[in-house]
Symmetry: C2
Subunit: 430 residues, 2 copies
Amino acid sequence: MKKYTYNTEVRQQLDIILKRSESDQQDVRTTVLDIIDRVKSEGDRALKDYEEKFDHCKLDSLKVTPEEIDRAFSETDPALIETIKRSAENIRNFHEHQKETTWTIHPKDGITLGQHITPIDRVGVYVPGGKAAYPSTVLMDTIPAVVAGVDTIVMVTPPDASGNINQNILCAAKIAGVTEIYKVGGAQAIAALAYGTETIAPVNKIVGPGNIFVATAKKEVFGKVAIDMIAGPSEVCVVADSTANPVYIAADLLSQAEHDEMAMPVLVTTDDKLADQVIAEIDRQIDTDLRRKAIAKASVTDHGFVFVCDNLDDAFELTNQIAPEHLELAIDNSEKYLDCVRNAGAIFLGMYSPEPLGDYYAGPNHTLPTSGTAKFSSPLGVYDFIKRSSIIQYDRDNLKAAADDITAFAYSEGLDAHAKSIERRFSNDA
Amino acid sequence: MKKYTYNTEVRQQLDIILKRSESDQQDVRTTVLDIIDRVKSEGDRALKDYEEKFDHCKLDSLKVTPEEIDRAFSETDPALIETIKRSAENIRNFHEHQKETTWTIHPKDGITLGQHITPIDRVGVYVPGGKAAYPSTVLMDTIPAVVAGVDTIVMVTPPDASGNINQNILCAAKIAGVTEIYKVGGAQAIAALAYGTETIAPVNKIVGPGNIFVATAKKEVFGKVAIDMIAGPSEVCVVADSTANPVYIAADLLSQAEHDEMAMPVLVTTDDKLADQVIAEIDRQIDTDLRRKAIAKASVTDHGFVFVCDNLDDAFELTNQIAPEHLELAIDNSEKYLDCVRNAGAIFLGMYSPEPLGDYYAGPNHTLPTSGTAKFSSPLGVYDFIKRSSIIQYDRDNLKAAADDITAFAYSEGLDAHAKSIERRFSNDA
């Protein structure tokens, strides 16, 4: 962990210190465009060829059968299935509060205005394979769509070399409410979801994390379909005062660090002594038996930061500039500081709300804005799976009363036919 | 207007008939990437060079002064200013209903979950110059941001060769609540908003329509900043039964056609006789004194369609496939059919709710999803200018009760440090 005193110089150099770089990979884009073109022209044939090439798997059929899902349930620890179900229930309950309904207002007699809410028809959920196959993410990406009322939720995920999908992923998909599952990953899966093939009908929106090929493909098909944000490395920022427990903070920073060598664990504190305690505690904890110790070490060393601030005002100024994916407030009376937070994906309050509680269990979504995008975007939610349509209804008298304003505005913009659409309705009036 | 009977063949060929093509312009992208790179490295210098090159305008200063705004007000027809103010008030009143507030819930004693709402700090609004300089769009793109509580709204728009901005645009900007205005357009303006220059501080989100260079630049900076949807040609779809008035329908289709040679006016009707009446009426009305007659003719001829359906069920099936930007329901008891609409940007009900009422005056936004994107996106609204942050707070007892589920889930995903962040909080418990 690199330690800085938060001063004017650090304030100005913050972007350089954090090194949250944009990826600009022209070679990846060329490959991805080729894959998209081939899937558009050759459909399933291209998907099967790419699965053989990239996942070393010869597939007769892309679709996961009900028998494969039944087998996954029979081979999975029943206790884990119950855990997944309890987590799914918490996620569902929280997201129910995000539902919106159609509303209308009547500013005057004879005028109705409003907002008509409808779910997206078809949604695609991308789920990575291999070690990054996380059933928790299947729940988080699918359940908001189910709550929104989406009719068809299509999951795509790469198979292993034997043509199988991780059994926990299949169980989570069934529990969450996925309606169709296909064995295809990478840019070819994104192309299939956007343009359709003989087997996979196209969707209207694609969500879910993936590697650089998946992310680039999502960016390319954006516009043809909607996508969620492009996810960068995971991040946690802990804001701590002298009342915080360095053992807990170190553990929480490490839980983020183990995700990815590029993950960013950050401590922002008003207490220089605590800063040193946390740094020492990380060194101690990282040498226990973590399966992903090497990853956590790389993250902490290359992307771990401690900032010591004069006061909490500075701490929140810095935190709002960082706009972290996860923000833990390990400060006394943490809930009183909620209004100091302008930019964060999820806010964890107090010493018994560590980030893994949100990753797995509490209910709010764990698909969150990274790389500072919390400055303009939000956790995945029910609002991402609905559309709004405006409603406008005027009666004759109200349109007539508005006619002069509308025609004056239209003529001022040079749009005569706009004005005439109003005038023709009243041309026989005296 | 090309006339089709809506049958199985037309159903299958719909995308080909409508020809709403995707633009794929590699040469434009190369130019735009060069412009973005130069603005990133050279800042204001690059902006001024590009303004001289593209808009033939030598600028000393990019920023519009308060004196220029005062002059615009003194030179504009006071009646038009009052029209713009009344329109702005209607837009503001409608969008106030879209405001969201922070909420929390308490699923159990000792647990708080919720959603914290904050406005985006800084927003950029792109306004095209020349003939497409529409003050109504300035109102529509700015007022939702003002209602959301956005602190700084930066408008960019290309100047004419003398370095001036259209006076109606300046008046609308002031009335709407724009906080800063800069004389710069094209891809260079988008680059400046995304990356900042000496004069223009970077924003978090960019909205507003533009030509292919502006749209391509917005797509390129997406991820670094948020953007609204890439707007395609404007569209209207009128669903009409035998009670509809062909004179009004023709006028409304023409009001859309005059926007752009690529604009798409569509009639979907259950009455073959009405179809022919509307076609004849368009021929008659188009030969009146419209300033944009040639544009309207091209749109009607190349992109105008009439579909005759057996019944309203088929009419709505077709309409939902088209997912039009504007949908007029010119049918008896139109409000009863609202639930038949699944995909549309704005829905105009009845014979006295023509589309220009929504473009200029009623209050709902006129920045709407085009090219079928109403299948997954919504009108511009207050929701586009806020972010949500999840709130999670557990006390000790509740975290302890959840500990087994969280650690089981974490270990199943191979994320040991996630589990330990929970375990370390209870490791001294008996």
